[in-house]
């Protein structure tokens, strides 16, 4: 039994698996296609380089007429992301159009890592530091990037074993 929203989400999934934009990916939960988990890796040449940022997306049956809810699960320090992980991005609010899909939503979020927009801040402190005290801003970002590796480091031993076995 599929609704237009679910059919569209399956198409989105097909697209993100066949033409995956670099450094990001997403897939629906096994038991609920209306909720997706996603990962964006901090783009090269930015302060967020190699940071691992986890997100969750929740779609309604009105998708793609209405945008999904998107929230960071990982802690993140960025002018356009709230401390609780919510995102201030025009295309997820008033500039949403039904032509966007999961892939383009995540690409837009990823591009905020390249170009933070301090003019419409979600995290006022981060926006002010970004404008007035770059050094301190970069330090705070570094902290959050290192924090994003924590899980990964914990699992590293385990994962290394896995990979060796695979090879």
């Amino acid at each position: 039994m599929s609704t237009p929203a679910k059919r569209r989400l399956m198409r989105d999934f097909k697209r993100i698996t066949s033409d995956c934009p670099p450094g990001l990916t997403a897939s629906p939960l096994n038991d609920n296609v209306m909720v997706w988990n996603a990962v964006i890796i901090g783009p090269e040449g930015t302060a967020y380089e190699d940071g691992i940022f986890k997100l969750v997306l929740q779609f309604s049956e009105e998708y793609p007429n209405k945008p999904p809810d998107v929230r960071f699960v990982s802690k993140i320090y960025h002018p356009n992301f709230y401390n609780d992980g919510k995102i201030c991005l025009d295309i997820l609010q008033n500039r949403w159009t039904p032509t966007y899909d999961v892939s383009s939503i995540l690409t837009s979020i990823q591009s905020l890592f390249n170009d933070p927009n301090p003019e419409s801040p979600a995290n006022v402190e981060a926006a002010n530091l970004y404008k007035d005290n770059k050094m301190l801003y970069l330090e705070k970002v570094k902290e959050c990037v290192e924090l994003s590796w924590q899980d990964d480091i914990e699992d590293d031993d385990e994962e290394d074993d896995d990979e060796e076995e695979e090879e």
Binding site: T3, R7, S27, N37, I52, E62, D69, P98, T99
Partner: protein, 385 residues
């Protein structure tokens, strides 16, 4: 098109004929991302499925073109008659020829087993029944000419234009002039296929008649005929020309009354629904949703579709939609989409609420995220290389 055939086709498009991928993506609606169904064009020259754009303009956030964000009024949408035929031809015929060709190639390699044929038949049944709302059986049979021959996939397409009856006549008994039945996938002479077999095969839809499959070679020879003088019908062209002519001649069906849904009474709403023989069960919210969807489907079919389906079939589509999307929900929660999902999926998940705990979620889906991280890293490194 059913999903198995669709998947197979996507594989071909993506891996074997990349040039088609571009063409394929041009014919897709930017809203549903499927092949355009009853395309309509905006004054800003952007094209969408009729149902998709009408639904968006009524229920979306804005009254603008999803592609260029220019203001867009629903009344300014116009049907794209030619594109409609192109998309129909692509969706119903071209894709099928590709899938059939792939099936034939596979069967040539291995001994065809009855099991295979039956499963193919099932797939093809769906395919055919999809197309049958639009095509007559005889028309559908004619297009099987395009499925004959042992050429490569690309040859198939270019041949479609050049295929002439005389070529086929030169070797009347060779297998080249035989065509695959789209339903049971067996080979028959074109004439037999068109005049007898397709009808027979269709009349046994769902009964899995093995008689067709077991038809011996001797029998086939008996019914084979060498006269193939009929030129292939450019049926989509005909349909286009007809629809273009008719669009001025046929009086448009009466539009639905424009109901003021904000302050309408349940009684008026029910009266209007009953006028069109629609169900009147559910809350007021359900009734409004039902009427809105009916308006979209009705307008799309009778205003935009050059060959409108009978009202009963529009009604069936609505009833199907109703069963999936319009479950009995109290009107109170209708304003909150998240409550709505939670109720439909029987899960009280709302990632925006303060109760949503990010650390709990993170550890619950640790494995899922780990897989995603691996994939994301891989795509990043492939880019570097």
């Amino acid at each position: 098109m059913n999903s198995a055939a669709d998947k197979k086709y996507d594989e071909i498009v993506n891996f074997k004929v990349p040039v088609l991928k571009d063409f394929d993506s041009l014919l897709r609606c930017h809203i549903c991302k499927d092949i355009l169904n009853i395309p309509v064009i905006t004054p800003c020259c952007h094209t969408f499925c009729s149902v998709c754009i009408r639904d968006y303009l009524r229920n979306g956030l804005d009254q603008n073109c999803p592609l260029c964000l220019n203001d867009l009024n629903e009344s300014s949408l116009r049907s794209e008659l030619l594109l409609n035929e192109i998309c129909k031809c692509y969706r119903l015929d071209i894709k099928k020829v590709f899938i059939e060709k792939l099936n034939t190639n596979k069967e040539n390699k291995q001994e065809p087993e009855i099991k295979n044929i039956i499963s193919n038949k099932r797939k093809q049944n769906k395919l055919i029944s999809d197309s049958f709302s639009l095509l007559k059986p005889q028309q559908s049979a004619k297009k099987q000419k395009t499925a004959s021959g042992n050429n490569t996939i690309i040859d198939m397409l270019s041949r479609k234009k050049h295929q002439s009856p005389t070529i086929a006549q030169e070797t009347p008994t060779s297998t080249k002039e035989k065509s695959n039945c789209p339903i049971c996938n067996n080979k028959f002479s074109l004439k037999y296929l068109q005049e007898h077999h397709i009808d027979h095969c269709l009349s046994s839809l769902g009964t899995e008649s093995k008689e067709i499959i077991n038809l011996s070679d001797d029998n086939k020879k008996e019914i084979e005929s060498s006269d193939l003088e009929e030129e292939e019908d450019p049926k989509y062209l005909k349909s286009y020309l007809q629809s273009a002519l008719q669009s001025n001649l046929i009086p448009k069906i009466q539009k639905l009354p424009n109901l003021q849904l904000n302050d309408i009474t349940t009684t008026t709403l029910k009266q209007n629904l009953m006028k069109y023989n629609l169900p009147v069960i559910g809350s007021k919210f359900n009734l409004i949703q039902r009427w809105k969807q009916w308006d979209v489907l009705y307008t799309s079919n009778f205003v935009d579709n050059p060959s409108p389906l009978p009202i009963t079939s529009v009604r069936n589509t609505l009833i199907q939609w109703d069963a999936l999307n319009n479950k009995a929900i109290s009107a109170n929660s209708s304003n909150n989409t998240n409550d709505l999902i939670a109720m439909l999926d029987n899960k009280k998940l709302d990632i925006k609420s303060d109760k949503f705990s990010r650390p709990t979620w993170e550890s619950k889906y640790k494995k899922h995220y780990k897989e995603l991280i691996k994939v994301a890293r891989k795509t990043k490194t492939t880019l570097k290389k």
